[in-house]
């Protein structure tokens, strides 16, 4: 491949060697240790789940890219991220055919309908999860304990359910293994329905056996730190999500310690860490303005705690992020920064803080001849006599 010596083009002239593909590939790399640990926790069922969900996502992406209506390519790794994240949010023993349905819906409904990568309003993985949550509420609430003996040689029976058929009952299988059904509950469900709080170290590392926890929060934070350090992810969003969730939980805990669990439990149970680091930071569905990121993250944290405490569901991260996704264009609009130099001119009488969102003329290069501030025109209401 030959490169031209001089390339003549318009601004921006300085650019980083960062493409969509690079970013997505690095996110996939950072997800691999988390997936590996997840497989270590749950054995071949988790491996099969990750493979099938990611495969369904890739197949759907391939189909829609083939129609020629999509932005992006199959090779840009975005469908892989969707698949891996979706598999990590599903229970390890989730029937494979339901996982495939989730993957297809995630790409088709969450991404392809909007026009492909960068155009989606909602996080595709969460759209897929929300669909199966509504379609199969029993299966998605059925967790099995981690670190079961023989997990690398035997599937969790519900994994291998026939397509369209009800999965086998996990409680019967656990009983045969001399474990009580309560061992299969997530820490959040245990707290919500039985009033049992899990210990801090158990939550943090996910290393204690016989508990249904997701991927280790500590590991996710480390992988997220890698992404943030290499600037593939903005650190403001996870910090805002976790900070606002902790603050809300701490205020409630201070108000009534008997009724509400401690903020530490709130932060490290369920999918909050995974959601904050990997789902909320999805570039297409979160605000681009720094101030907007804080608002967006804070909204997610607050909504998560509110849904967990006051609704019938044990977990609220998914809906919190989806709601904040919907709000993010609005957040962007009201947190639009004043262009450099513009504030001083307008500062004579008042600073125009809220610039219009879609095409603020201040952002258009001066070289563009057509860059004129449109004047508001008031048409006369009364017809001239």
């Amino acid at each position: 491949m030959t490169q031209p010596l001089i390339e003549i083009r318009s601004a921006p002239h300085v650019q980083a060697a960062k493409t969509v593909e690079t970013i997505m590939r690095n996110v996939v790399y950072s997800l691999l240790p988390i997936c590996a640990f997840y497989v270590f926790q749950y054995g071949i069922s988790a491996l099969a789940s990750i493979a099938v969900v990611t495969g369904a996502c890739l197949a759907t992406e391939r189909f829609f890219v083939g129609t020629g209506t999509q932005a992006g390519r199959l090779s840009d790794y975005s469908a892989v991220i969707t698949g891996l994240l979706l598999a990590l949010t599903l229970p390890p023993g989730f029937p494979l055919w339901m996982g495939a349905v989730a993957g297809i819906v995630a790409i088709a409904l969450g991404k392809a309908l909007f026009g492909g990568i960068g155009f989606n309003v909602f996080n595709p993985a969460l759209v897929g999860r929300a669909f199966v949550q509504a379609a199969f509420p029993t299966a998605i609430a059925t967790y099995t304990p981690s670190f079961l003996p023989g997990r690398f040689t035997e599937f969790i029976p519900s994994t291998l359910a026939w397509p369209l058929m009800i999965p086998a009952d996990a409680a019967v299988w656990l009983k045969a293994k001399h474990l009580d059904a309560l061992a299969g509950a997530t820490p959040l469900a245990k707290w919500k329905f039985d009033g049992v709080l899990a210990n801090a170290d158990e939550l943090l590392t996910s290393l204690s056996g016989h508990m249904a926890v997701g991927p280790s929060p500590l590991l996710i934070l480390v992988c997220g730190a890698y992404l943030a350090a290499r600037r593939f992810m903005d650190w403001r969003i996870p910090l805002a999500v976790l900070g606002s969730a902790a603050l809300t939980a701490w205020l409630l805990f201070a108000f009534d310690p008997a009724r509400y669990p401690n903020p530490f439990f709130m932060l490290f149970s369920g999918g909050l860490i995974l959601g904050a680091v990997y789902m909320a930071t999805d570039m297409a569905t979160s605000p681009v303005t720094p101030k907007g990121m804080w608002v967006y993250g804070a909204l997610i944290g607050l909504l998560t705690v509110v849904i967990r405490y006051y609704s019938g569901l044990p977990e609220g991260v998914m809906y919190a992020i989806l709601i904040a996704n919907a709000a993010s264009p609005l957040i962007e609009k009201i947190t639009q920064p004043v262009p450099f130099g513009r504030g001083a001119i307008l500062g004579m009488d008042r600073v125009k803080k809220r610039a219009s969102y879609p095409l603020n003329p201040g952002y258009i290069s001066r070289e563009e001849a057509s860059a004129v501030t449109p004047k508001k025109r008031f048409l006369p209401n009364k017809p001239k006599k």
Binding site: A134, A135, F136, P137, A139, L164, M165, I166, P167
Partner: protein, 215 residues
């Protein structure tokens, strides 16, 4: 050979295919989304609407000369409401379970925009026979639209078709399909399918004319 038969057929097929009330005109969405939880509900709702549509369009067409223009909407409503009342009582007598399942949507046929639209746009300007044929076409089209939704939602949501189990006892129902979001998803999927069919037809026609020009 007379041209009457193809014209009549055209009149009928307008509602069934070209101007299908559900998939092309996207009218009457309220019953379409609400009662299509099962195929039998969809079919009976469609049949009820078909009956009201044909009868009221015939009567509107008969009375078109004596209906003052200023009160025509009121006249249409009274005519439609008469037939809806008859259907309402008939369904109640035939099957109370079905009547409960369809709920308020039978009475709401009165304000169904397909019927009012047909009465205003077609029946009030045509003789009774074409008006009724056109209305029958629209009614059949509406029934087919409802059935298309009802079949998909019943098969996925309950694993059965017209109440007959398809997959045996171990079927996992898709709860979302019998909930309102399922109605929107299935309707959207069908609209997508018909839009795709239409685009393909246009593309083929375009390529045909192009080929014709080259020859």
């Amino acid at each position: 050979m007379s041209t009457a038969a193809p014209q009549t057929w055209d009149e009928f097929m307008e509602g069934v295919w070209r101007q299908n009330p559900v998939f092309v005109m996207v009218l009457g969405m309220c019953p379409t989304l609400a009662v299509t939880v099962s195929a039998i509900n969809a079919l009976s709702m469609g049949a009820a609407t078909l009956f009201v549509l044909v009868c009221s369009c015939g009567l509107v067409s008969l009375m078109r000369a004596v209906t003052p223009k200023e009160v025509r909407i009121a006249v249409y409503i009274v005519i439609i409401a008469t037939f809806v009342t008859a259907v309402d009582y008939a369904i109640q007598a035939i099957s109370l379970a079905l009547y409960d399942a369809l709920g308020a949507f039978i009475q709401l046929i009165v304000v169904n925009c397909i019927i009012l639209g047909r009465a205003e746009a077609h029946a009030s300007k045509n003789t009774p026979l074409p008006a009724m044929i056109n209305a029958a076409g629209m009614g059949v089209g509406f029934t087919l639209g409802l059935l298309a939704l009802g079949v998909v939602r019943e098969v996925l949501g309950a694993g059965s078709l017209f109440g007959v189990a398809l997959f045996g006892a171990g079927f996992q129902p898709w709860v979302i399909m019998v909930l309102p979001p399922g109605g929107f998803f299935v309707l959207g999927a069908w609209l997508l399918f018909f839009a795709w069919l239409e685009r393909r037809k246009l593309r083929r026609a375009a390529s045909l004319t192009e080929a014709g020009q080259h020859v």
